[in-house]
Amino acid sequence: MDVGLFAQYVMNGLMLGMMYALVAVGFTLFFGVLDIIKFSHGDVLTVGAFVALATFAGLHAAGFNSQLLDLVIMLAVATLAMAALGMLIARYLVMPLRSAPALNTLLITLMLGTVLREAVRLFYPQGANPKPFPALLPQNSIDLGSLNLRLDNALMLAAGAAVIVGLQYLLNRTKLGLAIRAVAQDEETARTMGVNFTAIVLVTFAIGSGLAAFAGVMNGLYYNEINFGIGLYLGVIGFSAAIIGGLGSIYGAILGGFLFAGLQTVGTVLLPFASAYKDVFAFAVVIAIMAWRPTGLIQEKISERV
């Protein structure tokens, strides 16, 4: 294969992998703090992206025209708004279900996802249509044979990586991170150690949901289009990625995200005239991986003994 073409695939795969990883990392965080699967994560991402878009439209209407400032304000508003939404979800949907079977949280967040998605579709102006998302990053690009290198992609990769590294640092190197992990394992004992349980849960949901907003904006900037369904698909893939990577490990989520992107890309390239089978291929590989490594690629350390 032509080197340039190959490089292009790698570049595409990296961008896609970054998107998946960002979502997967969010799942890992929620799993880490409350041992729950928050299925509405993808839809929070959607709402975040739409909030960003609305902010942009507002700024535009107000005559704002600096790309950089637009971007910063947009990101800030979306992230904060979703952080607030995350806290509401935590407070009114997740905390009350703490003593119920774990799967009920899954169901309630699944339903919340539907509510969010349908709300965007019904209440955002023309919400059912795909929306153009402004390209706010520098559009410089160089063509190297079949490889089209774009500055905005590089920036996004860097930003995504920075966010993930930051999260990793937060979870494993800070006191907050320690409290988050402690709460996940034993809420009550964490409280007896002086950890403010409610605050930790709210903060975690704020961080996780802010992260979703960030991922949503990234998604918009990369594809220059958003629609009310983006979160659904990204949610499922992100969830799967987090799990094949190994829940509870940020690295696992990243690995899972890139693996998924890699599988889909490889599927498309290797099955050129049956490219529709690429998802069949990708998911078959996922099943095989789970059979081979039942607790994910980065295996959780065994901590339970008899």
Binding site: Q8, Q126, P130, T268, S275, A276
Partner: protein, 365 residues
Amino acid sequence: AKDKVKVGFIGPLTGGVSVNGIGGRNSADLAVKLRNADAKAKYEYELVVLDDECKPNVAVQVATKMAADKDIIAAATHYCSATAIATVDTYHKFGFPVIIWGAVLPDITYRNKYAEIHRVNGTMINQNDANAELVSKLGYKTVAVIHDTTDYGKGHNEYFSKALAKIGKAKIVGTFGVTAEQQDFTAELTQIKALNPEVIYFGGLTPIGVRIRLQMDKLGIKAVFDGTSGIVSDAYIQGLGPLAEGSLAFREGAPTEKLPGGKFFMEKYNAQKYDNPPEAYGAFAYAAMDMILNTIEKVGPDRKKVIADLGNVKDRDSIVGKITFDDHGQNTVAVITKYVIQDGKFVEWDDSEYASGKRKLPGQK
């Protein structure tokens, strides 16, 4: 007071293609409203609306619900081919006359010969013939196909490929199936880029059409974007902005705004202040409903008589042009509108600056 008569509408009101369903629903609703406002009408009509979610099993359920309700005389049904094809037997079993207003799969009318089933819009065969012809006429030699793996996309791929092969001037250099939920097409498009086609034919609906067109640009692919009726939607232009320029698209029937009734339709539609545009097939939904209402006015609220009357539709006027049903109930619309997007609007090809040579599509001779 006038007697009450119920008529039905079915379309996708939730889920990914709900814009089209809601546009159709509004249009059908408009037909009923206008009729009820007409003092000369013999009956007062009530519109019963059901959501098929674009899912066959749901469609069978709601079709049963509607067809089994003897008070409902006839209905305009289905935008999604999968739901239309799934329900024809139900309608037939219950002797319930329907007019399909949006689904384009040929089999819906042609697989059986059911007197209950009619369709005002054309099938995808017609538009793909026109599409292949235009592509060939413009002198393009290489085409890559992307289609979604729904019946809509797969059908389009099939009929377009056949039509193009029959003309024999251009050849298909690669075919890519994608799923309707897919967000990222860069892997497919990178391959296409390597194949370097002049035209990318896309069989699918607006949401992924927008994504593919955008990602083509990201990867620096300059080929002509050649769409189907699935992208004839304001949403496509809104979603793309200036990038929409130069996309091709095809749809059965004459362009709404060119017909005498079309202007009337758009005016009335806008007057109702629906929060959704009628979309590509709104006019057909209106036409279907209007035809149902005309027929009931003529023969009375009786399913059998309605079926009998719809059996002999020839050259009937409608806002989508003259309608003639063949023995399968299929409107034999010869006319296909070819569109090119010019300055943020769907412009008929023949009226466009691309046809006149003032502007050029990529690679257009």
